[in-house]
Protein backbone atom coordinates (compact mmCIF):
# COMPACT_ATOMS: atom_id res chain seq x y z
CA UNK A 1 0.00 0.00 0.00
CA UNK A 2 2.68 2.40 1.02
CA UNK A 3 4.55 1.52 -2.09
CA UNK A 4 1.67 2.38 -4.42
CA UNK A 5 1.11 5.75 -2.73
CA UNK A 6 4.73 6.49 -3.39
CA UNK A 7 4.40 5.28 -6.96
CA UNK A 8 1.35 7.39 -7.69
CA UNK A 9 3.12 10.46 -6.40
CA UNK A 10 6.05 9.58 -8.57
CA UNK A 11 4.01 9.45 -11.76
CA UNK A 12 2.23 12.66 -10.82
CA UNK A 13 5.57 14.32 -10.21
CA UNK A 14 6.97 12.98 -13.47
CA UNK A 15 3.91 14.19 -15.38
CA UNK A 16 3.91 17.67 -13.91
CA UNK A 17 7.71 17.86 -14.26
CA UNK A 18 7.60 17.00 -17.96
CA UNK A 19 4.84 19.52 -18.57
CA UNK A 20 6.79 22.25 -16.79
CA UNK A 21 9.84 21.36 -18.81
CA UNK A 22 7.91 21.63 -22.08
CA UNK A 23 6.33 24.90 -20.95
CA UNK A 24 9.72 26.28 -20.06
CA UNK A 25 11.15 25.16 -23.39
CA UNK A 26 8.37 26.99 -25.20
CA UNK A 27 8.75 30.09 -23.04
CA UNK A 28 12.53 30.25 -23.44
CA UNK A 29 12.46 29.18 -27.10
CA UNK A 30 13.89 32.48 -28.43
CA UNK A 31 16.95 32.06 -26.21
CA UNK A 32 17.29 28.28 -26.35
CA UNK A 33 16.84 27.84 -30.10
CA UNK A 34 20.15 27.77 -31.91
CA UNK A 35 18.66 29.10 -35.17
CA UNK A 36 15.69 30.98 -36.55
CA UNK A 37 12.89 28.34 -36.91
CA UNK A 38 11.74 29.88 -40.20
CA UNK A 39 15.13 30.52 -41.76
CA UNK A 40 15.43 28.63 -45.04
CA UNK A 41 18.83 27.43 -46.13
CA UNK A 42 18.56 25.34 -49.28
CA UNK A 43 22.25 24.52 -49.38
CA UNK A 44 21.87 22.57 -46.13
CA UNK A 45 18.76 20.45 -46.82
CA UNK A 46 17.97 17.27 -44.86
CA UNK A 47 21.28 17.41 -42.99
CA UNK A 48 21.57 14.69 -40.34
CA UNK A 49 21.99 15.70 -36.66
CA UNK A 50 25.26 17.50 -35.99
CA UNK A 51 26.75 19.87 -33.40
CA UNK A 52 25.37 23.03 -34.96
CA UNK A 53 22.04 21.36 -35.84
CA UNK A 54 21.45 18.87 -32.97
CA UNK A 55 18.22 17.49 -34.52
CA UNK A 56 19.31 17.99 -38.13
CA UNK A 57 17.55 20.10 -40.76
CA UNK A 58 14.34 19.62 -42.73
CA UNK A 59 13.64 19.68 -46.48
CA UNK A 60 14.13 23.45 -46.60
CA UNK A 61 17.26 23.44 -44.46
CA UNK A 62 15.47 24.78 -41.37
CA UNK A 63 16.78 23.79 -37.94
CA UNK A 64 14.52 21.04 -36.55
CA UNK A 65 15.52 21.63 -32.90
CA UNK A 66 14.48 25.28 -33.13
CA UNK A 67 11.22 24.31 -34.81
CA UNK A 68 10.43 21.71 -32.15
CA UNK A 69 11.13 24.28 -29.41
CA UNK A 70 8.98 26.95 -31.01
CA UNK A 71 6.41 24.28 -31.85
CA UNK A 72 5.70 23.69 -28.18
CA UNK A 73 4.32 27.23 -28.10
CA UNK A 74 1.69 26.51 -30.73
CA UNK A 75 0.86 22.92 -29.78
CA UNK A 76 0.84 23.26 -26.00
CA UNK A 77 -0.64 26.74 -25.84
CA UNK A 78 -3.44 26.05 -28.28
CA UNK A 79 -4.26 22.72 -26.65
CA UNK A 80 -4.49 24.52 -23.32
CA UNK A 81 -6.54 27.28 -24.90
CA UNK A 82 -8.94 24.73 -26.37
CA UNK A 83 -9.35 22.92 -23.06
CA UNK A 84 -9.95 26.18 -21.18
CA UNK A 85 -12.49 27.36 -23.77
CA UNK A 86 -14.31 24.04 -23.57
CA UNK A 87 -14.43 24.32 -19.80
CA UNK A 88 -15.77 27.86 -19.94
CA UNK A 89 -18.62 26.65 -22.15
CA UNK A 90 -19.37 23.39 -20.42
CA UNK A 91 -18.96 24.29 -16.74
CA UNK A 92 -22.16 26.41 -16.48
CA UNK A 93 -24.11 23.87 -18.54
CA UNK A 94 -22.77 20.99 -16.46
CA UNK A 95 -23.51 22.76 -13.17
CA UNK A 96 -26.98 23.67 -14.35
CA UNK A 97 -27.92 20.25 -15.69
CA UNK A 98 -26.42 18.39 -12.75
CA UNK A 99 -27.89 20.58 -10.06
CA UNK A 100 -31.22 21.75 -11.43
CA UNK A 101 -32.17 18.76 -13.61
CA UNK A 102 -35.70 18.82 -15.00
CA UNK A 103 -36.56 19.78 -18.57
CA UNK A 104 -33.40 21.75 -19.35
CA UNK A 105 -31.32 18.80 -18.22
CA UNK A 106 -33.33 16.52 -20.48
CA UNK A 107 -32.83 18.76 -23.50
CA UNK A 108 -29.08 19.02 -23.02
CA UNK A 109 -28.70 15.30 -22.44
CA UNK A 110 -30.43 14.53 -25.76
CA UNK A 111 -28.18 17.03 -27.50
CA UNK A 112 -25.12 15.51 -25.86
CA UNK A 113 -26.17 11.96 -26.73
CA UNK A 114 -26.52 13.11 -30.32
CA UNK A 115 -23.09 14.72 -30.36
CA UNK A 116 -21.41 11.79 -28.68
CA UNK A 117 -23.07 9.35 -31.06
CA UNK A 118 -20.71 10.54 -33.78
CA UNK A 119 -16.99 9.71 -33.61
CA UNK A 120 -15.35 12.96 -32.54
CA UNK A 121 -12.73 12.92 -35.27
CA UNK A 122 -15.44 12.55 -37.94
CA UNK A 123 -17.37 15.51 -36.60
CA UNK A 124 -14.22 17.60 -36.19
CA UNK A 125 -13.17 16.81 -39.72
CA UNK A 126 -16.63 17.62 -41.02
CA UNK A 127 -16.59 21.03 -39.35
CA UNK A 128 -13.05 21.82 -40.47
CA UNK A 129 -13.93 20.52 -43.92
CA UNK A 130 -16.85 22.89 -44.18
CA UNK A 131 -15.16 25.94 -42.68
CA UNK A 132 -11.90 25.30 -44.47
CA UNK A 133 -8.48 24.33 -43.07
CA UNK A 134 -6.63 26.58 -40.62
CA UNK A 135 -5.63 26.91 -36.98
CA UNK A 136 -8.62 29.04 -35.93
CA UNK A 137 -11.15 26.81 -37.66
CA UNK A 138 -9.54 23.74 -36.13
CA UNK A 139 -9.72 25.30 -32.66
CA UNK A 140 -13.37 26.14 -33.18
CA UNK A 141 -14.16 22.65 -34.46
CA UNK A 142 -12.47 20.89 -31.56
CA UNK A 143 -14.27 23.04 -28.99
CA UNK A 144 -17.61 22.49 -30.75
CA UNK A 145 -17.11 18.74 -30.65
CA UNK A 146 -15.58 18.23 -27.23
CA UNK A 147 -17.93 20.26 -25.04
CA UNK A 148 -20.44 17.40 -24.93
CA UNK A 149 -18.09 14.97 -23.22
CA UNK A 150 -17.11 17.64 -20.71
CA UNK A 151 -20.69 18.46 -19.85
CA UNK A 152 -21.49 14.80 -19.32
CA UNK A 153 -18.52 14.43 -16.96
CA UNK A 154 -19.20 17.64 -15.02
CA UNK A 155 -22.88 16.78 -14.78
CA UNK A 156 -22.20 13.40 -13.21
CA UNK A 157 -19.75 14.94 -10.72
CA UNK A 158 -22.21 17.66 -9.74
CA UNK A 159 -25.02 15.13 -9.46
CA UNK A 160 -23.04 12.96 -7.10
CA UNK A 161 -21.90 15.93 -5.06
CA UNK A 162 -25.38 17.41 -4.73
CA UNK A 163 -26.81 14.17 -3.37
CA UNK A 164 -24.53 14.15 -0.35
CA UNK A 165 -25.61 14.82 3.21
CA UNK A 166 -23.55 17.94 3.61
CA UNK A 167 -25.38 19.61 0.74
CA UNK A 168 -28.63 18.68 2.40
CA UNK A 169 -27.50 20.21 5.67
CA UNK A 170 -26.23 23.28 3.83
CA UNK A 171 -29.69 23.72 2.35
CA UNK A 172 -31.39 23.17 5.66
CA UNK A 173 -29.25 25.86 7.24
CA UNK A 174 -30.68 28.31 4.73
CA UNK A 175 -28.03 28.71 2.05
CA UNK A 176 -29.38 29.72 -1.35
CA UNK A 177 -28.62 27.70 -4.47
CA UNK A 178 -25.98 30.03 -5.85
CA UNK A 179 -24.09 29.96 -2.61
CA UNK A 180 -24.33 26.18 -2.37
CA UNK A 181 -22.95 25.80 -5.87
CA UNK A 182 -20.12 28.22 -5.27
CA UNK A 183 -19.13 27.25 -1.75
CA UNK A 184 -19.87 23.54 -1.60
CA UNK A 185 -20.21 21.98 -5.02
CA UNK A 186 -17.52 23.75 -7.04
CA UNK A 187 -14.66 23.02 -4.62
CA UNK A 188 -15.75 19.39 -4.49
CA UNK A 189 -15.84 18.86 -8.24
CA UNK A 190 -12.81 20.96 -9.05
CA UNK A 191 -9.92 18.51 -8.38
CA UNK A 192 -11.28 15.74 -10.64
CA UNK A 193 -11.99 18.39 -13.27
CA UNK A 194 -8.37 19.50 -13.23
CA UNK A 195 -7.22 15.94 -13.82
CA UNK A 196 -9.79 15.48 -16.57
CA UNK A 197 -8.48 18.69 -18.14
CA UNK A 198 -4.89 17.47 -17.93
CA UNK A 199 -5.77 14.15 -19.56
CA UNK A 200 -7.78 15.88 -22.22
CA UNK A 201 -5.02 18.36 -23.02
CA UNK A 202 -2.97 15.36 -24.08
CA UNK A 203 -5.79 14.05 -26.24
CA UNK A 204 -6.27 17.47 -27.82
CA UNK A 205 -2.57 17.68 -28.67
CA UNK A 206 -2.86 14.31 -30.42
CA UNK A 207 -5.99 15.41 -32.27
CA UNK A 208 -4.44 18.74 -33.32
CA UNK A 209 -1.30 17.01 -34.50
CA UNK A 210 -3.41 14.54 -36.48
CA UNK A 211 -5.45 17.29 -38.13
CA UNK A 212 -2.38 19.38 -38.91
CA UNK A 213 -0.74 16.28 -40.28
CA UNK A 214 -3.67 15.84 -42.64
CA UNK A 215 -3.23 19.46 -43.71
CA UNK A 216 -6.46 20.59 -42.05
CA UNK A 217 -5.05 22.41 -39.03
CA UNK A 218 -2.08 24.68 -38.63
CA UNK A 219 -0.67 25.66 -42.00
CA UNK A 220 2.98 25.63 -43.04
CA UNK A 221 5.44 27.26 -42.54
CA UNK A 222 4.35 27.62 -38.89
CA UNK A 223 6.60 25.52 -36.66
CA UNK A 224 4.04 23.10 -35.22
CA UNK A 225 4.67 19.42 -34.48
CA UNK A 226 1.88 18.10 -36.67
CA UNK A 227 2.85 20.38 -39.55
CA UNK A 228 6.47 19.25 -39.25
CA UNK A 229 5.37 15.66 -39.66
CA UNK A 230 3.16 16.70 -42.57
CA UNK A 231 6.15 18.34 -44.24
CA UNK A 232 8.37 15.35 -43.61
CA UNK A 233 6.12 12.80 -45.33
CA UNK A 234 7.97 12.95 -48.64
CA UNK A 235 11.44 12.87 -47.11
CA UNK A 236 11.42 10.59 -44.08
CA UNK A 237 12.58 7.56 -46.03
CA UNK A 238 15.90 9.22 -46.76
CA UNK A 239 16.05 11.45 -43.68
CA UNK A 240 14.27 9.74 -40.74
CA UNK A 241 15.37 12.45 -38.30
CA UNK A 242 12.79 14.77 -39.90
CA UNK A 243 9.98 12.73 -38.33
CA UNK A 244 11.62 11.30 -35.22
CA UNK A 245 12.01 14.50 -33.21
CA UNK A 246 8.62 16.17 -33.73
CA UNK A 247 6.97 12.80 -33.00
CA UNK A 248 8.98 12.39 -29.81
CA UNK A 249 7.91 15.87 -28.71
CA UNK A 250 4.24 14.98 -29.17
CA UNK A 251 4.73 11.70 -27.36
CA UNK A 252 6.49 13.30 -24.41
CA UNK A 253 3.76 15.88 -24.01
CA UNK A 254 0.92 13.39 -24.22
CA UNK A 255 2.54 10.85 -21.88
CA UNK A 256 3.10 13.62 -19.32
CA UNK A 257 -0.65 14.31 -19.42
CA UNK A 258 -1.38 10.58 -19.18
CA UNK A 259 0.87 10.20 -16.15
CA UNK A 260 -1.09 12.87 -14.30
CA UNK A 261 -4.34 11.07 -15.10
CA UNK A 262 -2.90 7.74 -14.05
CA UNK A 263 -1.75 9.14 -10.72
CA UNK A 264 -5.25 10.40 -10.04
CA UNK A 265 -6.80 7.02 -10.85
CA UNK A 266 -4.46 5.32 -8.45
CA UNK A 267 -5.03 7.72 -5.60
CA UNK A 268 -8.77 7.33 -6.08
CA UNK A 269 -8.35 3.58 -5.92
CA UNK A 270 -6.35 3.86 -2.74
CA UNK A 271 -8.82 6.26 -1.16
CA UNK A 272 -11.66 3.87 -2.07
CA UNK A 273 -9.85 0.94 -0.51
CA UNK A 274 -9.19 2.88 2.66
CA UNK A 275 -12.83 3.69 3.15
CA UNK A 276 -13.81 0.11 2.45
Amino acid sequence: MKHSVYLSNKSLLAGVGFLLLIGLAGFLAPWLAPHDPLLINLSNRLAPPSWSYPFGTDHLGRCILSRVLFGSRISALFALFIVVCTFVISLPIGLFTGYVRGRGDHFFMRLIDGTLAIPDIVLTIAIVGVLGPGLIHMTLAIVLVRWAGYVRFIRSLVRNASQTDYILSARMSGNNHVRIMRRYILPKVFPPLLVYGALDTGKVVLLMAGLSFLGLGTQPPAPEWGVMLHDAVAYFQVAPHTIIFPGLAIMLFVSACQLIGEAQNKSQLIAGKRIA
Binding site: G114, I118, G132, P133, G210, F213, L216, S255, L259
Partner: protein
Protein backbone atom coordinates in the same frame (compact mmCIF):
# COMPACT_ATOMS: atom_id res chain seq x y z
CA UNK B 1 -37.18 -12.55 -26.18
CA UNK B 2 -39.84 -9.88 -25.77
CA UNK B 3 -37.23 -7.78 -24.07
CA UNK B 4 -34.92 -8.02 -27.01
CA UNK B 5 -37.64 -6.99 -29.47
CA UNK B 6 -38.49 -3.91 -27.41
CA UNK B 7 -34.84 -3.15 -26.97
CA UNK B 8 -34.30 -3.44 -30.73
CA UNK B 9 -37.23 -1.09 -31.40
CA UNK B 10 -35.84 1.53 -29.03
CA UNK B 11 -32.52 1.28 -30.73
CA UNK B 12 -33.96 1.73 -34.20
CA UNK B 13 -35.63 4.91 -32.99
CA UNK B 14 -32.29 6.03 -31.62
CA UNK B 15 -30.66 5.31 -34.95
CA UNK B 16 -33.22 7.46 -36.77
CA UNK B 17 -32.69 10.28 -34.29
CA UNK B 18 -28.96 10.24 -34.86
CA UNK B 19 -29.37 10.30 -38.64
CA UNK B 20 -31.77 13.22 -38.23
CA UNK B 21 -29.41 15.07 -35.89
CA UNK B 22 -26.35 14.54 -38.04
CA UNK B 23 -28.01 15.42 -41.30
CA UNK B 24 -29.50 18.57 -39.80
CA UNK B 25 -26.13 19.52 -38.43
CA UNK B 26 -24.33 19.05 -41.73
CA UNK B 27 -27.05 20.96 -43.56
CA UNK B 28 -26.79 24.03 -41.34
CA UNK B 29 -23.02 23.86 -41.25
CA UNK B 30 -22.86 23.92 -45.02
CA UNK B 31 -25.29 26.83 -45.24
CA UNK B 32 -23.11 28.77 -42.80
CA UNK B 33 -19.95 27.90 -44.68
CA UNK B 34 -18.19 30.53 -46.73
CA UNK B 35 -18.28 30.11 -50.50
CA UNK B 36 -21.00 29.57 -53.07
CA UNK B 37 -21.46 25.90 -54.04
CA UNK B 38 -22.36 26.88 -57.61
CA UNK B 39 -19.15 28.86 -57.93
CA UNK B 40 -17.14 26.00 -56.48
CA UNK B 41 -18.77 23.49 -58.78
CA UNK B 42 -17.99 25.56 -61.88
CA UNK B 43 -14.40 26.18 -60.91
CA UNK B 44 -13.96 22.50 -60.03
CA UNK B 45 -14.71 21.68 -63.66
CA UNK B 46 -12.70 24.54 -65.11
CA UNK B 47 -15.82 26.07 -66.62
CA UNK B 48 -15.49 29.83 -67.06
CA UNK B 49 -17.54 31.44 -64.29
CA UNK B 50 -20.12 33.76 -65.82
CA UNK B 51 -23.19 35.22 -64.14
CA UNK B 52 -25.43 33.30 -66.48
CA UNK B 53 -23.79 29.99 -65.72
CA UNK B 54 -23.99 30.71 -61.99
CA UNK B 55 -27.73 31.47 -62.07
CA UNK B 56 -28.46 28.38 -64.15
CA UNK B 57 -26.52 26.15 -61.86
CA UNK B 58 -28.06 27.62 -58.72
CA UNK B 59 -31.46 26.88 -60.22
CA UNK B 60 -30.38 23.33 -61.01
CA UNK B 61 -28.99 22.68 -57.53
CA UNK B 62 -32.13 24.05 -55.88
CA UNK B 63 -30.20 26.83 -54.18
CA UNK B 64 -32.80 29.44 -55.14
CA UNK B 65 -35.52 27.79 -53.00
CA UNK B 66 -36.16 29.03 -49.48
CA UNK B 67 -33.88 27.66 -46.76
CA UNK B 68 -36.77 25.83 -45.11
CA UNK B 69 -37.71 23.94 -48.25
CA UNK B 70 -34.06 23.18 -48.97
CA UNK B 71 -33.83 21.75 -45.47
CA UNK B 72 -36.89 19.55 -45.89
CA UNK B 73 -35.58 18.33 -49.22
CA UNK B 74 -32.21 17.51 -47.74
CA UNK B 75 -33.77 15.59 -44.85
CA UNK B 76 -35.86 13.55 -47.29
CA UNK B 77 -32.77 12.81 -49.32
CA UNK B 78 -30.73 11.92 -46.25
CA UNK B 79 -33.26 9.35 -45.09
CA UNK B 80 -33.65 7.82 -48.53
CA UNK B 81 -29.90 7.59 -48.97
CA UNK B 82 -29.77 10.05 -51.85
CA UNK B 83 -26.98 12.40 -51.04
CA UNK B 84 -26.61 14.08 -54.40
CA UNK B 85 -23.71 13.84 -56.78
CA UNK B 86 -20.07 14.56 -56.14
CA UNK B 87 -18.93 17.95 -57.45
CA UNK B 88 -15.69 16.41 -58.65
CA UNK B 89 -16.61 13.09 -60.27
CA UNK B 90 -20.30 13.80 -61.03
CA UNK B 91 -21.07 10.31 -59.69
CA UNK B 92 -23.75 9.74 -57.02
CA UNK B 93 -22.17 10.26 -53.59
CA UNK B 94 -23.61 7.03 -52.23
CA UNK B 95 -21.90 5.00 -54.97
CA UNK B 96 -18.58 6.71 -54.39
CA UNK B 97 -18.80 6.02 -50.64
CA UNK B 98 -20.03 2.43 -50.84
CA UNK B 99 -17.40 1.68 -53.44
CA UNK B 100 -14.70 2.59 -50.90
CA UNK B 101 -16.37 1.16 -47.79
CA UNK B 102 -15.07 -2.44 -48.15
CA UNK B 103 -11.44 -1.30 -48.08
CA UNK B 104 -12.05 0.65 -44.88
CA UNK B 105 -13.93 -2.26 -43.29
CA UNK B 106 -11.11 -4.62 -44.24
CA UNK B 107 -8.54 -2.36 -42.63
CA UNK B 108 -10.63 -1.80 -39.50
CA UNK B 109 -11.23 -5.55 -39.21
CA UNK B 110 -7.54 -6.34 -39.49
CA UNK B 111 -6.70 -3.58 -36.99
CA UNK B 112 -9.29 -5.02 -34.64
CA UNK B 113 -7.72 -8.47 -34.94
CA UNK B 114 -4.30 -7.06 -34.00
CA UNK B 115 -5.88 -5.19 -31.11
CA UNK B 116 -7.69 -8.24 -29.75
CA UNK B 117 -4.57 -10.41 -30.02
CA UNK B 118 -2.44 -7.85 -28.19
CA UNK B 119 -5.14 -7.31 -25.56
CA UNK B 120 -5.46 -11.00 -24.80
CA UNK B 121 -1.85 -12.07 -24.96
CA UNK B 122 -0.55 -9.12 -22.99
CA UNK B 123 -3.50 -8.85 -20.64
CA UNK B 124 -3.39 -12.51 -19.68
CA UNK B 125 0.38 -12.69 -19.43
CA UNK B 126 0.59 -9.61 -17.22
CA UNK B 127 -2.27 -10.85 -15.03
CA UNK B 128 -0.72 -14.29 -14.68
CA UNK B 129 2.63 -12.83 -13.69
CA UNK B 130 1.06 -9.85 -11.99
CA UNK B 131 4.26 -8.48 -10.54
CA UNK B 132 7.67 -8.47 -12.11
CA UNK B 133 9.32 -7.21 -15.25
CA UNK B 134 6.61 -8.41 -17.64
CA UNK B 135 4.04 -6.28 -15.85
CA UNK B 136 6.34 -3.28 -15.94
CA UNK B 137 6.70 -3.71 -19.69
CA UNK B 138 2.93 -3.91 -19.99
CA UNK B 139 2.49 -0.71 -18.03
CA UNK B 140 5.07 1.08 -20.12
CA UNK B 141 3.51 -0.20 -23.33
CA UNK B 142 0.10 1.07 -22.27
CA UNK B 143 1.51 4.52 -21.56
CA UNK B 144 3.27 4.54 -24.92
CA UNK B 145 0.22 3.14 -26.67
CA UNK B 146 -2.01 5.90 -25.42
CA UNK B 147 0.42 8.72 -26.13
CA UNK B 148 2.05 7.73 -29.42
CA UNK B 149 0.54 9.52 -32.44
CA UNK B 150 -0.77 6.76 -34.70
CA UNK B 151 0.68 8.35 -37.82
CA UNK B 152 4.09 8.56 -36.22
CA UNK B 153 3.97 4.86 -35.34
CA UNK B 154 3.02 4.24 -38.97
CA UNK B 155 6.07 6.12 -40.19
CA UNK B 156 8.39 4.26 -37.84
CA UNK B 157 6.96 0.93 -39.00
CA UNK B 158 7.34 1.91 -42.66
CA UNK B 159 10.90 3.04 -42.08
CA UNK B 160 11.82 -0.12 -40.21
CA UNK B 161 9.93 -2.81 -42.12
CA UNK B 162 9.81 -1.36 -45.64
CA UNK B 163 12.76 0.98 -46.06
CA UNK B 164 15.40 -0.69 -43.92
CA UNK B 165 14.43 -4.36 -43.99
CA UNK B 166 12.36 -4.39 -47.17
CA UNK B 167 9.99 -6.97 -45.76
CA UNK B 168 6.62 -5.42 -46.36
CA UNK B 169 5.04 -3.04 -48.86
CA UNK B 170 4.21 0.41 -47.47
CA UNK B 171 1.67 1.60 -50.03
CA UNK B 172 -1.66 0.55 -51.45
CA UNK B 173 -4.01 -2.38 -51.08
CA UNK B 174 -3.92 -5.84 -52.59
CA UNK B 175 -2.21 -8.79 -50.97
CA UNK B 176 -2.26 -9.76 -47.33
CA UNK B 177 1.22 -8.27 -46.94
CA UNK B 178 -0.18 -4.84 -47.75
CA UNK B 179 -2.52 -5.16 -44.80
CA UNK B 180 0.10 -5.94 -42.15
CA UNK B 181 1.62 -2.51 -41.47
CA UNK B 182 -1.59 -0.45 -41.45
CA UNK B 183 -3.30 -3.05 -39.25
CA UNK B 184 -0.40 -3.00 -36.80
CA UNK B 185 -0.46 0.80 -36.74
CA UNK B 186 -4.17 0.79 -36.04
CA UNK B 187 -4.24 -2.00 -33.47
CA UNK B 188 -1.04 -1.90 -31.39
CA UNK B 189 -1.72 1.26 -29.40
CA UNK B 190 -5.31 0.47 -28.45
CA UNK B 191 -4.41 -3.16 -27.76
CA UNK B 192 -1.77 -2.22 -25.22
CA UNK B 193 -4.21 0.10 -23.45
CA UNK B 194 -6.97 -2.48 -23.32
CA UNK B 195 -4.52 -5.12 -22.11
CA UNK B 196 -4.30 -3.13 -18.88
CA UNK B 197 -8.07 -3.09 -18.58
CA UNK B 198 -8.28 -6.83 -19.16
CA UNK B 199 -5.51 -7.36 -16.63
CA UNK B 200 -7.26 -5.43 -13.89
CA UNK B 201 -10.53 -7.22 -14.69
CA UNK B 202 -8.74 -10.56 -14.45
CA UNK B 203 -7.07 -9.68 -11.16
CA UNK B 204 -10.37 -8.53 -9.75
CA UNK B 205 -12.07 -11.75 -10.85
CA UNK B 206 -9.37 -13.83 -9.20
CA UNK B 207 -10.63 -12.73 -5.80
CA UNK B 208 -14.17 -13.91 -6.46
CA UNK B 209 -15.68 -16.88 -4.60
CA UNK B 210 -16.19 -18.94 -7.75
CA UNK B 211 -12.44 -18.99 -8.26
CA UNK B 212 -11.92 -20.32 -4.76
CA UNK B 213 -14.57 -22.93 -5.41
CA UNK B 214 -12.75 -23.99 -8.56
CA UNK B 215 -9.48 -24.16 -6.68
CA UNK B 216 -11.12 -26.25 -4.01
CA UNK B 217 -12.26 -28.67 -6.68
CA UNK B 218 -8.63 -29.14 -7.54
CA UNK B 219 -8.57 -27.57 -11.01
CA UNK B 220 -5.22 -26.41 -12.32
CA UNK B 221 -4.35 -22.73 -12.23
CA UNK B 222 -4.16 -22.55 -16.01
CA UNK B 223 -7.55 -24.18 -16.44
CA UNK B 224 -9.14 -21.79 -13.97
CA UNK B 225 -7.63 -18.80 -15.75
CA UNK B 226 -8.62 -19.94 -19.22
CA UNK B 227 -12.12 -21.23 -18.62
CA UNK B 228 -13.43 -19.57 -15.48
CA UNK B 229 -11.81 -16.20 -14.95
CA UNK B 230 -11.37 -15.25 -18.58
CA UNK B 231 -15.03 -15.80 -19.34
CA UNK B 232 -15.93 -13.52 -16.49
CA UNK B 233 -13.43 -10.79 -17.29
CA UNK B 234 -14.10 -10.93 -21.02
CA UNK B 235 -17.53 -9.32 -20.97
CA UNK B 236 -16.52 -5.69 -20.44
CA UNK B 237 -13.97 -6.19 -23.18
CA UNK B 238 -16.72 -7.09 -25.67
CA UNK B 239 -18.09 -3.56 -25.42
CA UNK B 240 -14.64 -2.10 -25.87
CA UNK B 241 -14.02 -4.16 -28.98
CA UNK B 242 -17.23 -2.87 -30.52
CA UNK B 243 -16.43 0.71 -29.65
CA UNK B 244 -12.95 0.37 -31.09
CA UNK B 245 -14.25 -1.07 -34.34
CA UNK B 246 -16.43 1.99 -34.74
CA UNK B 247 -13.52 4.20 -33.73
CA UNK B 248 -11.26 2.53 -36.29
CA UNK B 249 -13.74 3.13 -39.10
CA UNK B 250 -14.06 6.77 -38.08
CA UNK B 251 -10.40 7.33 -37.34
CA UNK B 252 -9.03 5.58 -40.38
CA UNK B 253 -8.37 8.75 -42.40
CA UNK B 254 -4.90 9.29 -40.96
CA UNK B 255 -3.78 5.68 -41.39
CA UNK B 256 -5.29 5.53 -44.87
CA UNK B 257 -3.50 8.70 -45.90
CA UNK B 258 -0.13 7.37 -44.72
CA UNK B 259 -0.45 4.00 -46.40
CA UNK B 260 -2.34 5.22 -49.50
CA UNK B 261 -5.12 2.85 -48.57
CA UNK B 262 -7.98 3.39 -51.04
CA UNK B 263 -10.74 3.65 -48.43
CA UNK B 264 -13.26 6.14 -47.09
CA UNK B 265 -10.77 8.02 -44.93
CA UNK B 266 -8.41 8.87 -47.76
CA UNK B 267 -11.34 9.83 -49.96
CA UNK B 268 -12.82 12.24 -47.43
CA UNK B 269 -9.53 14.09 -47.04
CA UNK B 270 -9.37 14.52 -50.81
CA UNK B 271 -13.00 15.68 -50.79
CA UNK B 272 -12.27 18.27 -48.11
CA UNK B 273 -9.31 19.63 -50.03
CA UNK B 274 -11.46 19.94 -53.16
CA UNK B 275 -14.46 21.34 -51.25
CA UNK B 276 -16.63 18.50 -52.45
CA UNK B 277 -19.48 19.35 -50.05
CA UNK B 278 -22.00 16.61 -50.96
CA UNK B 279 -19.31 13.99 -50.32
CA UNK B 280 -18.47 15.48 -46.91
CA UNK B 281 -22.16 15.50 -46.03
CA UNK B 282 -22.70 11.93 -47.13
CA UNK B 283 -19.58 10.73 -45.38
CA UNK B 284 -20.61 12.18 -42.03
CA UNK B 285 -24.10 10.71 -42.25
CA UNK B 286 -22.80 7.31 -43.34
CA UNK B 287 -20.11 7.01 -40.65
CA UNK B 288 -22.46 8.15 -37.90
CA UNK B 289 -25.00 5.61 -39.08
CA UNK B 290 -22.38 2.85 -39.03
CA UNK B 291 -21.12 4.02 -35.67
CA UNK B 292 -24.52 3.79 -34.01
CA UNK B 293 -25.32 0.54 -35.79
CA UNK B 294 -22.17 -1.09 -34.42
CA UNK B 295 -23.03 0.07 -30.93
CA UNK B 296 -26.47 -1.45 -31.23
CA UNK B 297 -25.07 -4.77 -32.44
CA UNK B 298 -22.60 -4.79 -29.55
CA UNK B 299 -25.38 -4.11 -27.06
CA UNK B 300 -27.44 -6.98 -28.42
CA UNK B 301 -24.43 -9.31 -28.42
CA UNK B 302 -23.68 -8.31 -24.87
CA UNK B 303 -27.19 -9.23 -23.84
CA UNK B 304 -26.93 -12.58 -25.57
CA UNK B 305 -23.52 -13.42 -24.12
CA UNK B 306 -24.05 -12.33 -20.53
CA UNK B 307 -26.55 -14.62 -18.77
CA UNK B 308 -27.04 -12.04 -16.01
CA UNK B 309 -28.57 -9.59 -18.47
CA UNK B 310 -31.21 -12.13 -19.47
CA UNK B 311 -32.48 -12.62 -15.96
CA UNK B 312 -33.31 -8.97 -15.47
Amino acid sequence: MKNIVRFGFERVVQLMLVVFFVSSLTFWLLRLAPGDPAYLLLSAHNIPVSNEALTNLREELGLTDSLASQYVNWLQDAFTWQWGTSYVSREPVINELLHRLPATLELAGAGLLVMVLVTFLMGMATAFYSSGWLNKIGRGAALLGSSIPSFWLGFLLIYLCSVQLGWLPSMGRGTLAHLVLPALTLGLGLGSVYARVLRSNLLEAMDQPFVQAAKARGLSKRRILLFHILKHAFLPVVTMIGTSFAFMIGGSMIIESIFSWPGLGKYIIEAINKRDYPVIQGYVVLTSFLFVLIHIVVDILYRLVDPRMRVQ
